[in-house]
Amino acid sequence: MLYLILIPMLPFAAFLILGLLGSWIKDRAHLVAVPAVLTSGLLSLLVLTEVSSGRNVEIPLYTWLTSGDLRIELGLYFDRLTVAMLLLVTIVSSLVHIYTIGYMHGEPGYARFFAYIALFTFSMLMLVLANNFLQLFVFWEAVGLCSYLLIGHWYERPVACAAATKAFLVNRVGDFGFLLGLLLVWYSFGTLEYRPVFVQAHERAGEVMNLLAPFGGTWDVSIFTMIGLLLFAGAVGKSAQVPLHVWLPDAMEGPTPISALIHAATMVTAGVFMVARLSPLYELSPAALTVAALVGAATMVLGATIALTQTDIKRVVAYSTVSQLGYMIMACGLGAYTAGMYHLLTHGAFKALLFLGCGSVILALHHEQDIRRMGGLKDKLPITYWTFLIGSLALAGFPFTAGFFSKDDLLVAAWSSGPLGQVLTLLGLLTAMLTAFYSFRLIFVTFWGASRVDPHHASHVHEPGRTVTMPLIVLAVLSIAAGYLGIPEFLAPVFAGAEGAAHHGGPAAYAIMAVATAAGLAGIAAAYYVYVANPGLPDRFAARWQALYRGSLNKWYVDEAYERAFVAPTLRAAAHLWQRVDVTVIDGLVNGVARAIGFVGWVMRLFQSGQTQHYALGMTLGTVVIVALYLLL
C-alpha cells in the first residue's frame, strides 16, 4: 500500500526540484512537473480499484506534534469520497499542467509557475487525503497559499497582487472560524482524528454548550451546531459563498490555467468536500445544515444574477462558478451529499473546460478578455468553440450532458429533502434558467455574430497549439462522459449513514427533470432571442431596468460595501490609534515622567545659588525643620 504515499509526494518532489533548481531548469520545467502529476494520476486509478472493492485504506505518515494530550498524527485516508476527489484533482491538474506548457510558453516565471501548481496539487491531495481535522486545516491553508502565489504570479501587475492579498485575507476570515471549530472539536472530543470523532459523535448527539456562561447567562447550543457553523465559516471562505465570495472573481487576475485548476475545479470545491467529509457531524446539527443550505442558495442566485451582465469573459465564468458552488453547498445543506459531490465532480470537468476555453480564446486574442471585443470566433477557433459549446451545454444542464445528470440529481434530492428543500429547489430551477442564459450569452457574443476583434490582431487569430487544445478535448469528453460513470452509485455508500434512502424516482423526480430541462432550454432560447435574433435588445433592457442592470454589473456593490464597512475603517482606526493613543498618550506618559523628573532637578538646582550664606541658612533651616518634625512626631 505504501506506493499510495507517492500520490501526493510526487508532485511535492516536483515542487522541491523546481523550487530549488528552477533558475537552472527554466523552460524544461514541464519535463519535471507533468510526469510527476500524471504518475500520481495513474496511481490514483490504482487506488480506485483498491477502494471500489469496499476497503478503506489508512496510511499513517508521522507524528507531527505532541503536547500534553494533544497528539497529531499525519496520515492518508483513502475511501470512495477521497478517491473521487483524488481523480478529479489529479486528472484536472494533469490536463492543466499540459495546457500550461502551451499557455505559459516563454513566460519568465515558467519554472516558478510549474513549481507552484505542483505544490498546489500536493497540498490539494493532502487536503483531500487528510485523516484528521488539523491536517485538513493545514493544507486548507496551504492551498490558499498556492492560490495566493498563483494569483499574484504576474507580480508586476498591482491588480494581480491586490487580488492575491484579497483572496488570502478573505480566506483568513473564513479560516478564523475554521480554526475555532477545530479547537472546539478537540476540546469536546479530545482528539482531532476523523473516525474517533465520528464514532463519539453518534453517542453524544444532543450535547449542548452554554454560550453565555462567561456572562452568567444561559444559551445552550448543540456543540455540533457550534462546530458545524464554525467549520462552515471556513467553507464559506474557501468555496466563495456569500458573504465571502468577493475574492473569487478578482482571483481571475491570475493566469487562466490557475482559474481552471484552482478557482473552478478543485480548491474552491474544498468547502463542499469538507462538508461532505464531515457529514457525520453535520447530520447531528440540523441548524448548521439549514444555514449551509440557505447560504448556498443565496450564493447560487447571486452568482447567477451577476454573471448575467459581466463583460469580462473570465468573470462571467467565475460568477457562474460561484453560482454552481452555491448549488453544491445547498445540496449538502439539504443532506444531499451524494448529489452535491456528484455535481462537484462534473462541474469540475466542465468548468475547467470552460476556463481553459476562455484561456485559449484569450491567448488567441493576445490577452483580450472583454467579450465586447470578440465575436465571430467560431470559425477561427473551431476546436475551442466546439469544446466550449459542450462545456456550456453541460453547465446549462442540457440533456445527456454530465451537468444535466448531476444538476438533475441535485434538484431531485433537494426537492425530496422536505419543505425547505422544495422552496430552494424552485430557486434552483430559476437559477438553472439564468445559468443557461448567461452561458449561451457568452457563446453567442464570443463566438457568433460579427467579429469585433481589434483589427490588427484579427488577421492572425488562430487556434493555439496542441498542448492547449488536447486538454480541451479531453475535458469535453469528460463533461459528457462523467454523467454515465455511475458516480452517484459509487459515492452513495460513503453517505449511507448520513442521507436516508434519498432515492430518486417517483413522479416528482420526473417532473423536476422535465422542468429543469425546460428551464435550461428556455434560458438558451432566451439568450438566442436576445443576442442573436435581435441584438438591440440588451441595451434596451439595460435602459429599462437601470437599477437592476447597474446592480448586477457592479456585483451588487458588495466590494464597495466591504471597503466602506471594514477595510477603510480598520486602516483609519489603526492610523488614529497609533498617533493618538500610542504616540501621544502611552509614549507621552513615558517621556512626560522623564521630563518631569528632569524639571524637578532643574528647579532644585536653583537653590544652589553660590552664596555661602544661603548655604549656611540652608543648613540652619534644615536643622530647624528636622527639629520641628521631631517635635511634631
Binding site: S67, G68, V138, A160, A162, Y187
Partner: protein
C-alpha cells in the same frame, strides 16, 4: 560528557571572544567574532544532544560558591524550557555577525565585542539558577545593548538608546528588591530551585509578582510598556535589532516562566486573568499599530509586540499546550522576526531607506530576496507548515482550555497579522519595481545568513517535536509544582498535567464557558 562544564564554556567563550576581538588586528576582527560565535554554537551541540528528554530536572548543572555571606552561588543548569532558548541564541549569533559584516564599518571592534558580551549575558540569563546571578546577567545585557543602539544606530539613536536603557532598567531594579525580599522572607537563600519550594503568603506573593512584572513586562514588552521597542528597533543597527527582538525580549517571557510561575504560583494564578487580558490587548493592539506603519522596522517592531502577546498569553493559561506553545513561540519569534530584521537590513544596505514607499517591487530586481522575504512574512503570519503556526496553534489550544472568548480574540490577531504582513509584502515585494534593476540580489554571504533561518522555519514547521520533546517533562514539572501548592484556588492535579477543561473552581470566575455535557461524560 556532563563532567565538562559546557554551560560555563557557553557563557565564557563569548567573553573570551570579546577580549580577543579587542586585541586582534583590525582586519581580522570580523573573522574572530564569527569564529567565536561559531565555536559557541558548536559548544552548544553537546548540551542539545546530551540533554535527557526523559527528565524535567535541571541538567548540566554546575555549582560553585561565589559570595559566602549572603550565600550567593554560581549555579547554572538547563531544563527543557531554557534549552531551546539557549540554542536559539547561539544559533542566531553567528548569523548576526555575518549579517552585519558589511553594514558595520566603523569601530567594528567595539561592535563585535558588544555583540559577544550580549550573547554571553543572555546565555547566562537563560541558564542561571541563582537569583543574584540571574540578576547580574540580566543587567549585564543592558550596557552592551545600549552601546549597540547608541553607537551604531540611526539618526535618532541617542534618544532611543537612553530610552531603552532607562525604561528597562527602571523595570528591573524592582526585581532586585523583590529578590532581596525573597531572600529575607524565603529561607535565606538565592537558589531559585530552593525558593520555588518555599511557600509564601499570598499577599507577599502578590507584591513580589508585581515587582517581577515590572521587570519582565517591560522587557517582553507587554502592553502598555512597549513604547521603547519601536524606537529602539528603528534606530538600532540590523544586528542590534535582531538581538533585541530575538533574544532580549525572550528574557522577559523566560523570567515569567522561570521565576513568576514557580516562585509565586498563587499570585501568578491570581493575576492570570489580568495578564491574559494584557496579552490579548497586546496581540490585537500591536497588530493594529503594525497596520499603520510606513517604516518597515517599526512595522516589524509592532508585530513583535503582537507576537510576544501570544507568548505571554500561552504562559498564563497554565496549560501544557499553552506553555509549550509559548516556549516554542519564543523560539519561532526569535527566528522569524530576526530574519525579517535581517531582510530589512539587507534592503537598507542597498536603498538606505527603511520606508516601504522607497522599497517597492523588489521581486523584479531581487527575486531571491523577495522569495526569502515572502517566506518569513508567511512564517510570521503563522501559515501552517511554518514554525509560527505550531507555536500559535498550541497557544490557542491552551487558551481555549482557559477561555474561549480569549481564544477568539487571539485568533483575531492572526487575521490582522495576515493583513499587515501581506500588505507589506504586496507593497515591498510585488508591484512595479520602483528603483529599477540596479539593485543587486542577495549576495552569497546574505544567502548564507538567510538559508539557515529558512531551514529552521520549515524544520520547526514540519517536525516541531524536535523542540517540543525536551519540553514535556519540564513543563509538566512546572505545572505540577503549581498544582502542588494548596493555594486559595488550586486546580485539580489533572489540570496541571494536562488541562482537559478545568473545573470552574480551578478557573477564574467566568473565564470558561462550562460545558453542561461534561458532567454526563465519564
Amino acid at each position: 560528557m556532563t563532567d565538562i562544564p559546557w554551560l560555563t564554556i557557553l557563557i565564557f567563550l563569548p567573553v573570551g571572544g570579546a577580549v580577543a576581538v579587542a586585541l586582534v588586528k583590525e582586519s581580522s576582527v570580523r573573522w574572530t567574532a564569527l569564529l567565536c560565535t561559531g565555536l559557541v554554537f558548536l559548544a552548544s551541540l553537546p548540551v542539545w544532544f546530551g540533554f535527557d528528554h526523559a527528565s524535567g530536572a535541571m541538567q548540566f548543572t554546575e555549582t560553585a560558591a561565589w559570595i559566602p555571606s549572603p550565600p550567593i552561588h554560581y549555579r547554572l543548569g538547563v531544563d527543557g524550557i531554557s534549552l531551546p532558548l539557549v540554542l536559539m541564541t547561539v544559533f542566531l549569533m553567528p548569523l548576526c555577525v555575518l549579517g552585519s559584516w558589511r553594514a558595520v564599518d566603523t569601530r567594528v571592534r567595539g561592535f563585535m565585542a558588544s555583540l559577544l558580551i550580549v550573547e554571553a549575558a543572555t546565555i547566562g540569563v537563560f541558564t542561571a539558577l541563582d537569583f543574584v546571578l540571574f540578576y547580574v546577567f540580566w543587567e549585564a545585557v543592558l550596557i552592551p545593548m545600549y552601546l549597540l543602539i547608541g553607537v551604531w544606530g540611526g539618526p535618532n539613536r541617542l534618544y532611543a538608546a537612553i530610552k531603552f536603557f532607562l525604561y528597562t532598567l527602571a523595570g528591573s531594579v524592582l526585581l532586585l528588591i523583590a529578590i532581596l525580599v525573597l531572600y529575607v522572607q524565603g529561607g535565606q537563600t538565592f537558589d531559585i530551585l530552593a525558593l520555588s519550594r518555599t511557600p509564601l503568603s499570598p499577599t507577599l506573593q502578590a507584591w513580589l509578582f508585581l515587582a517581577f512584572f515590572a521587570a519582565f513586562a517591560v522587557k517582553v514588552p507587554m502592553w502598555p510598556f512597549h513604547t521603547w521597542l519601536p524606537d529602539a528597533h528603528v534606530e538600532a543597527p540590523t544586528a542590534g535589532s535582531v538581538v533585541l527582538a530575538s533574544v532580549l525580549l525572550k528574557m522577559g517571557a523566560y523570567g515569567f516562566l522561570r521565576l513568576s510561575l514557580p516562585l509565586l504560583p498563587d499570585a501568578s494564578y491570581r493575576f492570570a486573568n489580568v495578564m491574559i487580558a494584557l496579552s490579548l490587548i497586546a496581540i490585537v493592539y500591536g497588530a493594529y499599530m503594525a497596520l499603520a506603519q510606513a517604516d518597515l522596522k517599526k512595522l516589524i517592531a509592532y508585530s513583535s509586540v503582537s507576537h510576544m502577546g501570544f507568548v505571554t498569553l500561552g504562559i498564563f493559561t497554565f496549560t501544557t499546550q499553552g506553555i509549550e506553545g509559548a516556549v516554542l513561540q519564543m523560539v519561532n519569534h526569535g527566528i522569524t522576526t530576526g530574519a525579517l530584521f535581517l531582510c530589512v537590513g539587507a534592503i537598507y544596505e542597498r536603498t538606505h531607506s527603511r520606508m516601504i514607499a522607497d522599497n517597492t517591487g523588489l521581486a523584479g530586481p531581487m527575486p531571491r530576496y523577495a522569495t526569502v522575504l515572502v517566506i518569513f512574512a508567511l512564517s510570521s503570519l503563522g501559515l501552517p507548515g511554518t514554525n509560527s503556526f505550531v507555536g500559535e496553534f498550541l497557544v490557542l489550544v491552551g487558551t481555549f482550555l482557559w477561555s474561549k472568548i480569549a481564544t477568539a480574540v487571539a485568533a483575531l490577531g492572526v487575521i490582522l497579522a495576515a493583513a499587515y504582513l501581506l500588505w507589506m509584502v504586496q507593497r515591498v515585494a510585488f508591484g512595479p519595481a520602483k528603483n529599477g534593476g540596479h539593485l543587486s540580489d542577495l549576495s552569497l554571504r546574505e544567502m548564507l545568513v538567510m538559508s539557515p533561518l529558512v531551514v529552521a522555519v520549515f524544520w520547526i514547521g514540519f517536525v516541531p517535536n524536535t523542540l517540543l520533546a525536551p519540553m514535556h517533562e519540564s513543563v509538566a514539572r512546572l505545572l505540577a509544582a503549581r498544582s502542588g501548592v494548596d493555594g486559595p484556588n488550586a486546580p485539580s492535579p489533572q489540570l496541571a498535567t494536562s488541562v482537559r477543561r478545568p473545573t470552574p473552581a480551578a478557573s477564574p470566575a467566568g473565564a470558561l464557558p462550562s460545558m453542561s455535557a461534561r458532567e454526563s461524560r465519564p
